[in-house]
């Protein structure tokens, strides 16, 4: 059986599955039950000056029968006194010395505030700190969370202040509510971050009730934007992890967060550069015990791949992720319809006719049976037909061999520039 243990910037964990700082890590009772279920680590619900929450806090977006495709919350950081949390952290760490407990922290952007909370939290034996520069709602209106995280200089300064007194690894949690997450990540590293984690939640409004005209959720008829997470945000998170992983000036371990629900999601995040992952929404939906399937699935996968350690996955797909301008323009795939599996629903034909390149013909074969056929020479390989096809195996996207040299857009543009430079003619 493969070794699932991880080491993120010096924080050791029996497996890569951590609970994210969120409602499931609000108390020692919850975190201890999570560890009993199999979670390798927990990022304690953010500590800071205790807040007051509203009633009615969560909302979910369901899509075509899939409940909680996305999840929205307007809950803030802990509403419990720091001493109470610290006592429970101490007790939990004592009971589970080999599990990772990371304290998520959020205070005003003042040096003395960071010094005070870092010292108090480290006194009870946490394995690391996570600076919360990501929560988009409530706390941001008070100059903390995402409001801090959207100012690279403030991220750098606050990370530096935490590092001035920290003796455990400092993870900086980044907000996705920014144009280029690598800018803030680089400033976190300049401030001394030992690792970064991403993503926090995305500004969102889950919906509007078309009968009452109230927002979803609403607090007595008034709403405010919340933070969006869950499976719907996974592609956004995965891209941000990958962009940071491949950035030469970042170079610190990454804790991946955002819509992770299955062991396959974990593999994807680790292949794209995460050293471990954090999970919240899937636990809020299904409970702590989902980690059992995650552990079994990951373990079996590693065995099947012949990998001795989960750490062998880290970053293995990063080099496959580049800029559009570096993709090979002469690579070609085309759609092929497998008549044995096709149910003639015509969805591929409609999609291709209405939204792509009109290259799937509806024909009648010699037996009088309707068949769908791709004109491969006109197929641009967009994948749309295979995406909308309801039957697995009915449409394959097949790579077409050609003897054209690989040529990227950037190479093409350089070729044209070089050609034109050498052409001394007045028409140019």
């Amino acid at each position: 059986m493969a070794d699932l243990s991880t080491n993120l910037a010096g924080i050791r964990s029996p497996n890569p599955f951590w609970l994210a700082s969120a409602p499931p890590t609000n108390t020692g009772y919850q975190v201890q039950r999570a560890f009993e279920a199999g979670w390798g680590g927990a990022v304690w619900k953010t500590l800071g000056d205790p807040i007051i929450n509203t009633s009615s806090r969560f909302a979910a977006v369901s899509f075509n029968g899939q409940r909680v495709a996305g999840f929205n919350n307007i809950e803030l950081i802990t509403d419990r006194p720091l001493d109470v949390n610290l006592k429970e952290i101490y007790e939990t760490k004592k009971r589970f010395p080999n599990h990772a407990i990371i304290a998520s922290l959020m205070v005003e952007p003042k040096q003395e505030k960071w010094h005070e909370i870092v010292k108090r939290v480290e006194d009870v034996g946490v394995d690391g700190l996570e600076l919360n520069f990501g929560c988009p709602h409530g706390m941001a209106e008070r100059g903390m969370g995402a409001a801090s995280g959207q100012q690279p200089d403030l991220v750098e300064a606050q990370t530096h202040w935490a590092k001035e007194v920290a003796t455990t690894p400092v993870i900086v949690k980044l907000t996705p509510n920014i144009t280029d997450i690598t800018v803030v990540a680089r400033h976190a590293v300049r401030g001394g971050a030992d690792a970064i984690s991403m993503i926090n939640t995305i500004n969102s409004l889950a919906g509007v009730d078309i009968h009452t005209w109230n927002t979803i959720p609403h607090v007595g008829g008034q709403g405010a934007h919340g933070g969006y997470c869950g499976p719907a945000v996974k592609p956004i998170a995965l891209n941000m992890v990958a962009e940071c992983a491949r950035h030469a000036d970042i170079g610190v371990p990454i804790s991946g967060i955002g819509g992770i629900s299955t062991w396959q999601d974990v593999v994807e995040f680790m292949l794209m550069g995460a050293t471990g992952v954090q999970v919240c929404t899937a636990v809020m939906h299904h409970g702590f015990r989902i980690v059992e399937d995650m552990i079994d699935g990951l373990s079996n996968y590693l065995d099947e791949k012949g990998l001795a350690s989960v750490e062998e996955l880290i970053g293995r797909s990063v080099q496959k992720y580049s800029n559009w301008g570096d993709l090979n323009l002469n690579y070609q795939v085309v759609a092929r319809i497998n008549e044995d599996n096709c149910i003639n629903c015509n969805k591929c034909h409609i999609a291709c006719e209405d939204a792509s390149h009109q290259c799937i013909d509806m024909l009648t074969n010699a037996d009088g049976k309707s068949v769908l056929q791709v004109r491969e020479e006109d197929c641009v390989g967009c994948n749309l037909c295979s995406i909308v096809c309801p039957v697995d195996g009915a449409i394959d996207m097949v790579a077409i061999e050609n003897d054209l040299p690989p040529m990227t857009w950037n190479e093409r543009q350089r070729t044209i520039a070089s050609l034109n430079d050498a052409y001394n003619v007045e028409v140019m």
């Binding site: 323009l329 290259c359 004109r375 006109d378 003897d403 054209l404 050609l419 034109n420 003619v425 028409v427």
Partner: protein, 75 residues
């Protein structure tokens, strides 16, 4: 006309000019595609132009040039 047929038509025009001994001297990309400038390889005196429209033809012609530059032979 299918996209492939449009491309084939432009490819044949490019190939026909090249077969007459012209080489591609410059490419001006514009809103309608690309204007290709050809010169006679032997004399450099004769010149001709061809406006190409399709994406595949624009890719084809630059692949020819890129292959030449990188000493690779396209099909």
């Amino acid at each position: 006309m299918s996209a492939f047929a449009e491309f084939e038509q432009e490819k044949q025009q490019i190939d026909a000019i090249l077969a007459q001994g012209y080489t591609i001297a410059a490419i001006q990309e514009n809103l309608d595609g690309a204007l290709l400038h050809f010169i006679q390889a032997s004399s450099h005196a004769e010149r001709t132009q061809l406006q190409i429209l399709t994406a595949d033809a624009r890719k084809y012609v630059t692949t020819l040039l890129f292959a030449r530059q990188t000493q690779l032979a396209p099909g």
